[in-house]
């Protein structure tokens, strides 16, 4: 590996990320999959970084799942998206910050379509007006939530209580970064580091003391792919995709996986259990599985948040091996017995209408 070569490419793929005043839109599925992640994100943004992050209760799905599942036609999708923009405009925000990779990809795609076909944009404006009487401005800045964490990775590092280092050996943890397909594969120029050698998560890991490992099937999809997973008969294909990735990363002996997509951590996590049940195959050191995290969880961990407050008990592949390696102080008996209710001051009034 020639690091200089990668750095040269990373230099080519930089993007503008707004500093403050974000209009945050949640993901449809993440709150079910790993509910602690978005909460942690807001806490980090608001409490650690003191940023203005705004949410609106009237925000709906972007229809991305329906769109990629060939159920929702593109014009409908565009009108729904136009409505999200209108709500943002009404709230007085310009920097759109989706939590979901597919939403991010879809917004990017729609903005690009409108850029090339202004008449489509006009048509969508007319439709939105007709349907809701709303008007919108296009976002001034569009960034994925992981882009923002990437942007403030140094600030987070400066406040960090832990590093991604094995406290027993002093070695950096070996971290596999997995990027959601819709982050940069459709529009490489919109992703930090491009599509071939993405840097968004690698940058965080490096900054927080870990070591990113690069393995042959790095680019391979986790297998979520909406249509593949939604139909039970196709799930064999979905799990085969994850398996291909595990087989490929196996010789590198990764300590953990970090992801930035709603579906990927879900599938990389749950499929390890399924593969074990169906084929008796286990991955990770001592065959105890490779823990899979979202980037918010990792950020929360290095900042010293309680693992159970971060929702790590929701992982099917146990996270304790990594916690032990880092040396995080946690009480095993509290795992499924949450005594303290998350104490984030603003989180109780998450929806700030």
């Amino acid at each position: 590996m020639i690091l200089e070569g990668k750095k040269a490419i990373w230099n080519d793929y930089q993007k503008e990320i707004a500093d403050d005043k974000y209009y945050y839109v949640r993901s449809c599925v993440r709150q079910n999959f790993f509910p602690g992640s978005e909460t942690a994100f807001l806490k980090i943004m608001r409490e650690e970084l003191k940023k203005d992050v705004y949410e609106h209760p009237c925000h709906t799905t972007c229809t991305g799942i329906g769109y990629h599942g060939d159920i929702v036609p593109v014009e409908t999708t565009m009108t729904v998206v136009a409505r999200q923009f209108a709500i943002m405009t009404e709230a007085g925000y310009e920097n759109l910050l989706p939590s979901c990779i597919t939403s991010f990809g879809l917004y990017t795609e729609i903005l690009d379509t409108w850029h090339h076909f202004p008449e489509v944009e006009e048509k969508v404006r007319r439709q939105l007006r007709k349907a809701t009487g709303r008007e919108f401005r296009k976002p001034k800045n569009l960034a994925h939530a992981s882009d923002v964490i990437y942007k403030f990775r140094k600030e987070i590092a400066s406040k960090a209580k832990y590093k991604l280092v094995n406290k027993n050996t002093g070695e950096p943890l070996k971290v596999v970064d997995h990027i959601g397909c819709h982050y940069a594969k459709m529009f490489p120029s919109k992703g930090i580091g491009g599509a071939e050698y993405p840097y968004v998560l690698a940058g965080m890991v490096e900054e927080w003391g870990g070591n990113v490992i690069d393995y042959p099937e790095r680019r391979h999809c986790c297998g979520f792919g909406f249509r593949q997973y939604l139909v039970q008969a196709n799930r064999g294909f979905s799990v085969a995709c994850s398996k291909e990735k595990f087989e490929s990363m196996k010789p590198f002996k990764p300590d953990m996986i970090i992801t930035n997509c709603p579906g990927c951590p879900m599938f990389l996590d749950r499929w390890q259990y399924v593969i074990n049940e169906m084929e008796g195959k286990r991955y990770g050191q001592n065959e105890e599985g490779i823990p899979v995290f979202t980037y918010e969880e990792v950020a929360g961990l290095v900042l010293g948040y309680d693992p159970w407050e971060l929702g790590l008990q929701m992982h099917q592949t146990d996270c304790e091996p990594v916690l032990d390696k880092i040396g995080i102080d946690y009480s095993p008996e509290d795992k499924y017995n949450l005594k303290i209710i998350p104490s984030y001051s603003e989180s109780r009034s998450l929806i700030n209408v």
Binding site: Q232, A233, G236, F237, V239, V274, E277, M278, E279, G280
Partner: protein, 114 residues
């Protein structure tokens, strides 16, 4: 083993390193013209068996070379060795001998001779 209503799909990918290419090597050794095939498909076009079945000598050629032997083993015996393919081949590949050698090689590999 647990059942979830589906099974983990087998990969279709040819894994070049872990495939068994001894059959191909045996043929290369005994019939060097095996290398000369450039997959034009003339053999399959004239083939009597190919007119009746999905048998394709061209395809067998490439599968053997890649070590994808299972499929070859089951279709190889359909060949009638009539030799029309040999007459048609633009590269002078000794096609009949390849079929015969492939059969031999399978037998030998069953007997752990190669």
């Amino acid at each position: 083993m647990e059942k979830f209503g589906f099974t983990i799909s087998k990969g279709r990918q040819i894994d070049y390193e872990s495939n068994n290419r001894r059959i191909a090597e045996y043929i290369f050794e005994n019939e060097p013209s095996f290398r000369l095939c450039f997959e034009c498909g003339g053999c399959s076009a004239t083939c009597t068996t190919a007119n009746f079945t999905g048998f394709s000598l061209r395809e067998l050629n490439i599968l053997i070379k890649r070590g994808e032997n299972d499929q070859v083993r089951s279709t190889l015996k359909k060949c009638m060795l009539c030799g029309k393919c040999t007459l048609v081949c633009p590269r002078g590949v000794n096609t009949r001998n390849i079929v015969v050698l492939a059969k031999q090689a399978f037998q030998k590999s069953d007997e752990y001779e190669i």
